[in-house]
Symmetry: C2
Subunit: 308 residues, 2 copies
């Protein structure tokens, strides 16, 4: 079993969907990654920052799940990062209503000494310089560095992004962002170009259309489980990434074959995440439920054709 | 082995893509279905209509592939159905430039006596009354009736469509059309509603995002093979349907388990169809190429996770 270090946001979200709306609830990429990874019982540390307004009970919940929050700095006089968004009827697009960076604006990540030897590092969707600052603090180059990013950083910090990508093994990115970063429409060609930027493995997230894993001519595809109802998509991408990293950390095997299983586990966990608002479903999720749904993934994708 | 009867268009297409453009070339849903089914060596009859301008050489090519064209009526004084379209850069959307119905306008399908006992019938995307007229001519209810349709018929002939759907086992439809027909956004719920309209099996085609097969609570998903280059998507959906029907006809097994293999074969053949303009790639396709690419589909989708 490997140690997993995740840097990302720990935040407040206020979400509106066709099914209802929430007040400020727990959110953030670091939170979702941590909760997903906690399913595998791996030692997970989250590096983030919150304000004095952040409830201790949220941290307690994370700790109870086995998530080490030593690296979550609390800026007493500051306010926690807050995002508010409204999903459209199709749940595939959303409007951001509010983004208050607050304590995130001057965030300098500090890796706790107990996680400087983490074998797997997940760099959540933050400024590329913040992501690089985490790698700088590691005792040595981790066994596997996974990076998530978005179009925003390509727009305002493309050079910094290119720099950090050279130090990254796996990038997770959505299809539109992959096209923007590579200048290629075909995802096969996009993955090839991004591969040349550094990451040996390129994971392209296509939301309800699943995810593709590329590695030097190899491809693997994990569908999203078709659901009767998507209640709240917030955090699904981070849960996917957390499941991916968590499974790799648990097994300690970063081969392409094992990454196949890892993205199935990621997709599996993401399918739960969207069933309730915020982190609620992930907080109550049991190992049995995960196993049962894995069988659904098998039924959905496995076939028996003999090649002659 | 079962006999396959397909009704659909045999037509001229003129296609423009970012890679080039064609003059009038061979096209039509009946043509693509027939060519796909010919890969399985099943006895396939096509019911359609062409004008006096339709080259005998095209029919000769189809016959050489084992496609029975007795049911392709030739209206000497008429002109063949002609469609012209231009694909956008992303290849996922297109503009129709020209649609000349010509002989298709008054098309009355005539099922050759040698195919009135066909076990599998593929009703290509035509007016629902034309589709029903084919079923009316069968000696008895076929073992499996597969129907393809589109939003156009929902707009102008919804009642007729509902009538013919009661006589259909499998519907193939794209995601937007499934949503329109059912009034449900979630494809799981859409499939359930369409199921209640008649078809026990609902195949939802998602283009580059693959296809889903639904049957009374069972789901199966076949991805589209990610390709570096999609040269011309014309006919991919019909090739998919033809591969699906052809495989079922060859095996004579219409169980859900076997339909899983059938949609993988359909998706496999469609991945070739888009590699060249029109029918070109399907005309030259060899069984070896098909087998090799089936292995790519296995590599793309099969994983090894033990359920505990």
């Amino acid at each position: 079993m490997s140690k997993l270090l995740a840097v990302g946001t720990v935040a407040f979200d206020a979400i509106e969907t066709p099914f209802g709306k929430t007040d400020k609830i727990l959110g953030g990429s670091g939170t979702f990654v941590g909760l997903a990874a906690s399913q595998f019982g791996v030692q997970t540390g989250v590096v983030s920052v919150v304000g004095g307004d952040f409830p201790q009970s949220y941290l307690d919940m994370m700790n109870k799940k086995g998530i080490d929050t030593t690296g979550v700095e609390i800026v007493k006089e500051g306010k926690t990062f807050f995002w508010s968004g409204k999903y459209h009827n199709d749940m595939n697009s959303r409007d951001t209503l509010v983004t208050e960076l607050n304590v995130l604006e001057h965030f300098q990540p500090i890796v706790p000494s107990s996680f400087k030897d983490a074998e797997i590092v997940m760099l959540g969707n933050l400024h590329p310089l913040t992501q690089a600052a985490v790698l700088d603090q590691m005792d040595k180059q981790p066994k596997l560095v996974v990076l998530d990013t978005m179009n925003f950083w390509m727009d305002i910090a493309l050079n910094d992004l290119h720099e950090v990508l050279k130090r990254v093994d796996v990038i997770t990115i959505n299809d539109e962002e992959a096209r923007q970063l590579s200048g290629e429409y075909s995802l096969v060609n996009a993955a090839k170009k991004i591969h040349e930027m550094g990451p040996k493995y390129v994971v392209i997230k296509k939301g309800e259309h699943g995810a593709l894993l590329f590695n030097e001519g190899n491809m693997f595809y994990a569908p999203a489980l078709p659901l009767a109802e998507v209640f709240d998509p917030t955090g699904a991408g981070d849960t996917f990434a957390g499941g991916f990293c968590g499974y790799l950390a648990k097994t300690g095997d970063i081969s392409f074959e094992n990454m196949k299983s890892a993205i199935i586990f990621g997709s599996n966990l993401a399918s739960f995440c969207v069933e309730k608002f915020g982190t609620q479903r992930m907080e109550e999720l049991t190992k049995d439920e995960v196993q049962i749904r894995l069988q659904s993934f098998k039924d959905l994708t496995q076939f028996d054709i003999k090649i002659s």
